[in-house]
């Protein structure tokens, strides 16, 4: 498709949605639902996408995508409500926002803070959308040149990098959960010789572990356990008068906005790294580069711009590897991958060949979702803030029921639920002990791809591993993997520390 045709597809997608009242209702409804999900502490964007996946299963693909993108965009933005109004971030992605938003609200500037958040979140999503349009086809075209060796290395790289960045403790913990995910993907009959692996003689395991129940188990159940187990007090929200778009604040912070959007997109594009890391990195960078770092933490607008632009720009970033290579860039994107697979769409380099215009269509939905988010944010902020008074004890058990029925309804298998509960308990304990969950999920998703491509590649090369070194892309990926591995090792860190010390002495 040339650029004019792409524009044509983009605007016709927008036109078809805007002129369809049902789809507009779905767009605004799901965005509002997303904002509510994001605002309520304990409910996350991933959980929102997971629950809506089960409800949109029967809808046409475009309507389902509108609903899922709407809830994703809305929930990432909605997290800021709790941060600003009660100093309890609705989602991890909005934790950095609380540092500046809450002091602003205490000063009586809650409306200004929410207005700024709403506007920069919409701009962040829009920038992310631009990157999806530009980079997805380029990366997909590059990925078309990939052979089995590159796909194997890419899967391996995804697990390694996700484990390295998302781990709150030692990096080995991130990697081992990635391998645990890979192992879970091995359960069932293998794709080449149909040999049953690790099925323990259980018939239901022969077809392998289904991704969506695993995802719901990994992200939903620990959240429910955590929220109910910990005592949560409901705080009284600050007073909110009028939500203003704060265009003046946006204009003053244009430099920070652009930088934060780029950080958000960049981090989003790294497999398995979510909106929370994007927000923190952007906030940290803003503080480091600010002329007034001492003002951070006192209700400084630069901080809000940094975190909120980055976390919403991350959505577009996360969609790039998802659509171009089938590798989710963030946990909600992993859920989206599950939803796409349920609808018979296999994201990856072949996507644009099999479904021309799909990426552009997703970009159009992203644009409309950011618009819907802005409108809903401006008009219904006061009503959403009222929901912050609802205690989690009232809705978390309902979410548990939705997780169960949702998981069951996808394959009508009670066995999925039997797997989901231990999976949830396992991930709850792993999280508690500093093992990150995104690498595990990436492992489960990419496991089959890694296994099949490694063996297929070796079949083609008759068992020779030379293509790992002779194919340029494979070699680059291999070097990146080695570099990721080495730079995270203790000896390398010690060496670097010694070198730095030596430099300082001199």
């Amino acid at each position: 498709m040339n650029i004019l045709q792409q524009f044509g597809v983009f605007f016709s997608a927008i036109f078809s949605i805007v002129t369809n009242p049902v789809q507009m209702l779905i767009l605004f409804g799901s965005t509002l639902l997303g904002i509510v999900f994001g605002a309520l502490p304990g409910l996350t964007a991933t959980l929102g996408v997971a629950l809506l996946t089960t409800l949109t299963y029967g809808l046409p693909l475009q309507s389902a995508m509108i609903a899922l993108m709407g809830i994703y965009v809305g929930a990432v933005y909605g997290g800021s409500y709790g941060s600003i109004m009660i100093n309890i971030p609705g989602t991890a992605a909005a934790a950095a926002t609380a540092l500046e938003g809450y002091p602003m609200a205490c000063r009586g500037e809650a409306g200004r803070a929410l207005g700024l958040t709403t506007t920069v979140s919409a701009i962040g999503t829009f920038v992310g959308m631009l990157f999806v349009v530009v980079f997805t086809p380029l990366i997909a075209a590059l990925a078309l040149q990939f052979t089995s060796f590159e796909f194997f290395l890419l899967a391996f790289f995804g697990i390694l990098i996700s484990g390295s960045i998302s781990c709150p403790d030692t990096v080995q913990k991130g990697w081992i959960t990635g391998f645990l995910g890979l192992f879970l993907a091995m359960v069932g009959r293998d794709s080449l010789q149909v040999y049953p692996r690790y099925t323990l003689g259980i018939m239901e395991l022969e077809s392998g572990i289904e991704i969506v129940p695993v995802l719901i188990g990994a992200f939903g159940i620990p959240q429910i356990i955590q929220v109910l187990k910990d005592k949560h007090s409901t705080a009284q929200p600050n007073k909110l008068e009028r939500v203003l778009p704060s265009w003046g604040d946006v204009g003053r912070n244009l430099k920070h906005l652009v930088r934060s959007a780029l950080i958000g997109v960049g981090i989003g594009a790294v497999p398995g790294i979510g909106e929370d890391i994007a927000a923190w990195v952007s906030y940290g960078t803003a503080k480091k580069t600010s002329k007034h770092p001492e003002k951070f933490g006192t209700g400084f607008e630069e901080g809000i711009v940094a975190s909120e632009t980055a976390n919403n720009a991350c959505i577009g970033g996360a969609m790039i590897p998802l659509l171009s290579m089938g590798i989710p860039g963030s946990p909600p994107a992993a859920m989206l991958l599950g939803a796409l697979l349920l609808h018979g769409v296999a994201p990856g380099p072949m996507l644009e060949i099999e479904r021309p215009g799909f990426t552009i269509g997703i970009s159009a939905i992203l644009l409309l979702a950011s618009f819907a988010m802005w409108v809903v944010g401006m008009l219904l902020a006061k009503q959403v803030v009222k929901l912050l008074r609802v205690p989690p004890a009232l809705f978390m058990p309902v979410v548990a029921v939705l997780c169960l029925i949702g998981s069951y309804s996808l394959g009508l298998k009670v066995f999925n639920l039997y797997l989901m509960i231990p999976m949830g308990i396992l991930t709850y304990y792993l999280t508690d002990m500093g093992y990150p969950i995104p690498p595990l999920v990436i492992g489960v998703i990419l496991g089959t791809m890694a296994d099949a491509n490694l063996r297929r590649g070796l079949m083609v090369s008759q068992g020779s591993i030379a293509p790992f070194f002779t194919r340029p892309v494979a070699l680059v990926l291999l070097l990146v993997i080695v570099l990721t591995f080495v730079t995270n090792m203790g000896f390398y860190k010690n060496l670097m520390a010694k070198l730095k010390k030596g430099k300082n002495v001199r």
């Binding site: 192992f183 010789q193 429910i224 109910l228 169960l404 069951y408 002990m433 490694l454």
Partner: protein, 252 residues
């Protein structure tokens, strides 16, 4: 995440578990066709289904050793001793564990016992009625007593399931387990109401009412959405769901 002092002790345990898992993965991989023929197809090492599991198993072994060494070097052993020493201090049935039990017991009971035996509507009410009430009231005494009663009720269903009496009862009357579940719901509701009265807290009756609204409204929305809009056959359609279906199809 738990605090660093405890974390290193826990790391020793988790790394040992991962190590054992790694050994099992590798051992199982060696039972898979490596170079020999499987299903009439001659295999070579690089096509073997064991290839990836061997890589995964080996990586898990190495990484678990690395985590173990890191934990041992950073006071893991002392932390483990401390955890072991403190294990009996608060007792198994301390408030924190009771709270945890209140999350897990109803959830596990619903999935493994109730969903396939009891009418879906009643299974949800049984779960929500207890969980929402005890967590919304957030009173340790009510939570503890409620959990004991709930566990006793679920034990009864477990006994019925173990001895196959559930099927025998359903053979006698299709909805017999639903009647038992309904009785359980009444017992737990009355019990919680009595407990609330005993505390004399004026806030509790209001909270109890809100919890009950939530308990009954949820299945009233969920069942029609999944059963009639999304056309999902529910895990067990018993007395209430069949009654709803009767009503739905008669007005349709």
């Amino acid at each position: 995440m738990m605090d660093k002092a405890k974390l290193r002790g826990a790391d020793l345990i988790t790394s040992a578990i991962f190590f054992l898992l790694g050994i099992w993965i590798v051992a199982e991989a060696f039972t898979m066709p490596l170079k020999d023929s499987y299903a009439g197809v001659d295999s070579v090492w690089y096509v073997s289904p064991a290839l990836m599991p061997l890589i995964i198993g080996a990586a898990m072994l190495l990484l678990s050793v690395a985590i173990f060494v890191h934990a041992a070097k950073n006071g893991g052993l002392e932390s483990l001793k401390e955890i072991w020493k403190n294990r009996t201090k608060d007792g198994l049935l301390n408030d924190s564990n009771i709270r945890y039990g209140c999350v897990l017991v109803p959830l596990i009971a619903m999935v493994y016992l109730n969903l396939t035996r009891i009418d879906f509507f009643l299974a949800i009410v049984l779960y929500l009625g207890f969980t929402i009430t005890v967590f919304y009231l957030d009173n340790p005494t009510i939570m503890r007593k409620g959990l004991y009663l709930y566990t006793a009720e679920m034990s009864l269903i477990l006994v019925l399931a173990i001895f196959g009496l559930d099927k025998a009862l359903m053979g006698l009357f299709e909805y017999s387990l639903d009647i038992i579940a309904a009785a359980m719901i009444i017992v737990i509701t009355v019990f919680l109401r009595i407990q609330i009265k005993e505390t004399g807290n004026p806030e509790y009756p209001k909270k109890f009412r809100a919890a009950m609204w939530m308990t009954y409204l949820t299945p009233l929305f969920i069942v029609p959405i999944f059963r009639y809009m999304l056309r999902v056959p529910l895990p067990r359609e018993g007395a209430i769901v069949n009654l709803m279906s009767l009503f739905y199809y008669s007005i349709r």
